[in-house]
Each structure stands twice: as C-alpha cells, then as structure tokens.
C-alpha cells in the first residue's frame, strides 16, 4: 500500500487548512417586513413569499 514518505509538517497542514474559507450568504430584504432573508425563499421572519403567507416558513422558538 502506498504511504506518505514523510510526516506532514504542522506548517504545511495549517497552510492547506487556511484556504478553507466560509463564504457569506447572499441576503436580500423582505419586501413585506424588511428583515434580511435569502433570495427565492420565504421570509423566515414574517413567512411571506410573493405576497403569499406560509406559516411553516416562520422561524419558531426551537430554531435560532
């Protein structure tokens, strides 16, 4: 079985991992309540999408 010849240094490991970056989520403004929401998705604050209300979309106590 092929195995690495040398132990990978901490510097190399950390340099590689330094490239793992999270990207911010693009947010839009809810036209109904003005809260931030993701595009093409019902507003988690007021539960509306294209003037229709979805109670299932509203954020509840259990979700943060």
């Amino acid at each position: 079985m092929a195995v690495p010849k040398r132990k990978m240094s901490r510097a190399n490991t950390r340099s590689r991992r330094a490239q793992w970056k999270a990207t911010p989520t693009a947010l839009a403004t809810c036209p109904n309540c003005g809260a931030a929401k993701q595009g093409h998705m019902a507003c988690p604050n007021c539960g509306t999408y294209k003037d229709r209300h979805y109670s299932a979309a509203e954020r509840t106590e259990h979700q943060s």
């Binding site: 019902a42 999408y49 003037d51 979805y54 299932a56 979309a57 979700q63």
Partner: protein, 242 residues
C-alpha cells in the same frame, strides 16, 4: 409525460420511493399544502400533477389508475370531486413549490408544496403593474402641467421654491436638505420614483430630489412607498431599527 427520474431513488430503493411518493401525494391531496424537503417536493410534483390530470378526466378508468397510487378512497374522492373542478380551467401547473428556510436538525433545504386552487384569471400582479403605469402617466401629465404653470407664477414665487409635483411638494435646498424641516418631511427619490417617510429604513441614506408634506401627497404625485406600503407607514418605532 413527466421526465424520467435520473440518479438514485428516494429511500431505500425503487419500491420504497414509490411508497414515499404515494404517501406524500395522499397527504398533499388531503391537506392541500404540505411541508417536506425540497428534493421530495420536486419528485412529488410530476406525480401529483399527473394524478390531477387523471382526476380532471374523471371517468372510472381514470379513477382506477389513481387508486393504484393512492389507496385511500376518501382522498381519491376528494381529489375527483373537490380539487379537479377547481383545476378545470388550468392547463397544467397544478402545484406550487415555495422554498423555506432549512430544517433545524440536519439543515436540509425544506419546501412547501401546495395545490394551486385559486382561479386562473386572478392575476393580482397585473393589476399592480397597470396601476403603476397609470400613476407614471398621471405623474408625467402633472409634470407637464406644472411646467406650463411655473413660468406664469414664477415672478411672484414665495421664498420656498414650489416643487414640480404641486403645492404639497418642494424642491430641496442646499443639495438635498428640506426647505422647511417642520413642514416638508417626506423624501422623494426621482430615480426610483419612491418616497421615504422619516424614520423609515432608507430615509437617512436617501438624497431627496423632491420633498413632500405627507406620504399621501407623494403617492398622488406618482411616487411609490419604498419597500412596500407597510415599510412606509409613518412609523415612530422605525428609529429603533435603524
């Protein structure tokens, strides 16, 4: 005909997928609106729409074809007698999928899938567009009228330069400031044709091309509430948010 499904089935295999989709379809026709994951909603849509097509045909053969998927006679009865008549004028597109925020536990993208049972002709958007176009035309006319009227009473103009949208509007002074902060409080943006009341979200960042006394005056001049009607009600608590 629905496009054949590519890739792996839902659940543990083809039979399991058939069961999942049949149960979802049954729940959908029973409750009109169900919440499920986005992937399941997307798989359910072609099946559900096909069943609605059968229901619109309405004969015994169609009913038996539907019964092979949905085993509950009560739900099939509801589909044929209550849902199908609502869909009579609709040529496909019987369901609507709306994405909602991801699920808490596993962050799965969720969606609401519902039957579109409102009449086909109800097009609220069209009405809004027509109204907006009408308002734009009215504003253009008022513009022209104001332009004609302006030269006539230009000599005896009061110190406040009257805005071009009538007596309730005023041109800004010193590059955007209100000519009379007590009286003219509503900002109008001519580029977007929207107005902003004090304390609303974009009020501070807006450079006013025209000032109004009241939101009603702004609306009469063809300006729309920025961010919708609710965002531009004269709100005192708006300051807290900003």
């Amino acid at each position: 005909m629905p496009t054949p499904t590519k890739g792996p089935r839902l659940g543990g295999g083809p039979a399991h997928e058939r069961l999942i989709l049949a149960n979802l379809a049954q729940a959908l026709f029973e409750h009109d609106r169900i919440t499920t994951t986005e992937a399941k909603a997307k798989r359910l849509r072609p099946l559900a729409e096909r069943l609605v097509t059968f229901a619109k045909r309405g004969d015994l053969h169609a009913r038996r074809r539907v019964m092979t998927v949905i085993r509950d006679k009560g739900v099939v009865h509801r589909l044929f007698t209550e849902i199908a008549p609502d869909m009579a004028d609709r040529q496909g597109g019987y369901t609507r999928i709306t994405k909602i925020a991801p699920r808490k536990g596993d962050n799965a993208p969720m969606a609401v899938i519902e039957l579109v049972r409102e009449p086909v002709n109800a097009k609220p958007k069209r009405a809004v567009v027509a109204e907006a176009e009408g308002a734009t035309k009215r504003a253009a006319k008022e513009d022209a009228a104001a332009a004609e009227a302006a030269p006539a009473d230009a000599p005896e103009l009061e110190p406040l330069a009257e805005g071009k949208y009538g007596a309730d509007s005023a041109a800004p002074v010193d590059g955007g400031l209100s000519p009379d902060p007590e009286k003219f409080t509503v900002k109008g943006n001519e580029d977007s044709m929207k107005y902003h009341v004090p304390g609303s979200r974009w009020y501070d960042s807006t450079v006013a091309e025209v000032w109004f006394t009241t939101p009603e005056a702004a609306q009469a001049a063809g300006f729309e509430p920025a961010g919708g009607e609710k965002a531009q009600e004269v709100a005192e608590d708006g300051d807290d948010e900003a």
